[in-house]
């Protein structure tokens, strides 16, 4: 069992900076994120995009900002549970929450700070009617174990790196493999594109472009996918497995079931300290909602700073909190 002072859900910029501000108050933090590396949207969606509104940085790449934040919080030795989705919370006693991830990791803390941004990144599911009834019965949104697809007739949809890479890899073991894509050109690594084109030329991959999957048919398990192609029109294809690979999209996910007041996919907070309607649970950054809310990293940093002050008073109601400037004490005096 991991124990900490502030359990932070979401290792984006706001969650990361919380570690720093909490560290100045000698509060320990542990971060949980569904993504395999820290940085949230900055790492997952736009690592190479410059950001211009971080004070003191005329321009900084999103990925660089994450690296810098990691360096800035390193002295406070935060714990990380990455690649795991925060699933449930329960109250163990008056001042202890226990969070369990989808992999079963458990973490206890008196305070939970939800810095979940847009939510958990999950595979984007094509809005094909009836698709959900075939999930795990012929429809997979990710490839966990390639062996599952040995000697099967596969249909992969998508035009990005994951669609290309899996087409290349699964072409080796599948009985038949078809890749469909909306356009004639692909994004993704040039090397991968060339490989797929070569596989198509040598008939190892059946490549159908300017096409989209529009329907699924089956009887308990998936049997056919209906494809609409620009010239050929609509036709059905018999397959064993359909693997749509359309990237990731954020969803609020299990947080929606934690008894928090939620408006339009965001958690309502008191702007005094960014507390939610549940004592000991705070929400900061893009995931919260209040009048005049601006979804800016800058504002998330401010919210994190105010929030840890309140969290300290919640954890230690009898202790006096003396505010210190880092310019006076550095960060070394705060460690440990």
């Amino acid at each position: 069992m991991i124990k900490t002072d502030i359990l932070i859900i979401g290792a984006g910029p706001c969650g990361l900076f919380t570690v720093f501000e909490a560290g100045l108050l000698k509060l320990k933090c542990h971060l949980v994120d569904v993504l395999p590396s820290p940085g949230g949207q900055l790492t997952e969606i736009y690592p190479k995009k410059p950001i211009y509104d971080i004070p003191g940085y005329p321009s900084v790449l999103a990925g660089e900002l994450v690296d810098n934040l990691m360096e800035q919080i390193a002295p406070f030795k935060p714990g990380f549970t990455l690649g795991e989705r925060a699933e449930t919370i329960e109250k163990v006693d008056e001042k202890t929450y226990r969070l369990t991830t989808h992999r079963g990791t458990q973490i206890e803390a008196p305070v939970i700070a939800i810095a979940g941004g847009l939510g958990c990144f999950e595979p984007r599911k094509p809005p094909i009617e009836g698709l959900d009834q075939f999930e795990d019965k012929g429809v997979d949104y990710m490839v966990k174990d390639p062996e599952k697809f040995r000697d099967k007739k596969l249909l992969i949809a998508g035009g990005g790196d994951s669609a290309l890479d899996w087409t290349i890899e699964l072409a080796e073991i599948a009985k038949e493999i078809t890749l469909i894509h909306r356009r004639t050109s692909f994004r993704g690594a040039l090397d991968s594109i060339e490989k797929v084109v070569n596989l198509a030329d040598s008939k190892k991959v059946n490549l159908i472009t300017e096409a989209q999957a529009i329907g699924v048919k089956g009887n308990g398990v998936l049997k056919e996918v209906v494809i609409k192609q620009k010239e050929r029109g609509e036709f059905a294809m018999e397959i064993d497995n359909f693997i749509p690979l359309f990237g990731l999209t954020p969803k609020l996910g299990p947080i929606a079931d934690w008894g928090l007041n939620i408006t339009k996919n965001a958690i309502d907070v008191n702007t005094l300290d960014y507390s939610t309607n549940v004592p000991g649970i705070y929400a900061i950054g893009d995931i919260n909602n209040y009048e005049g809310k601006l979804k800016l990293i800058l504002c998330g940093f401010h919210e994190a700073t105010m929030m840890v002050q309140s969290a300290f008073k919640y954890i230690y109601p009898d202790q006096k909190l003396s505010f210190k400037y880092t310019t006076v004490s550095g960060v070394n005096g705060f460690e440990g």
Binding site: I45, K49, P126, P127, G158, R182, R183, S185, F246
Partner: protein, 108 residues
Amino acid sequence: MDNIINLTVLDREGKEHSLEAPTDMSMNLMEVCKSYELPVEGTCGGMALCASCHVYVQSEHELNEATEDEEDMLDQAFFVEDNSRLGCQIKMRESLEGLKVELAPQSE
């Protein structure tokens, strides 16, 4: 009026909305829709990194060509048609007077 163009947006219930958009504030269609509180999310803030502002362009206006980033994002969107565009990539300018678009179905 100077620096103002008129747009028509068809929402997902088929209702027509007449919008006025300034051309001198470097606004894009997603932002204009949001300012009218139309159901356009604009999740990524206009970086062509989500498809929540996906629209179908119904009028015959000459638009700026979709960049590779926009096409890449449309690859991950659904219900994509030949006239699909991301609203955030359509900059408001005078030649778009009378532009008519329809909001694409929400898919997430």
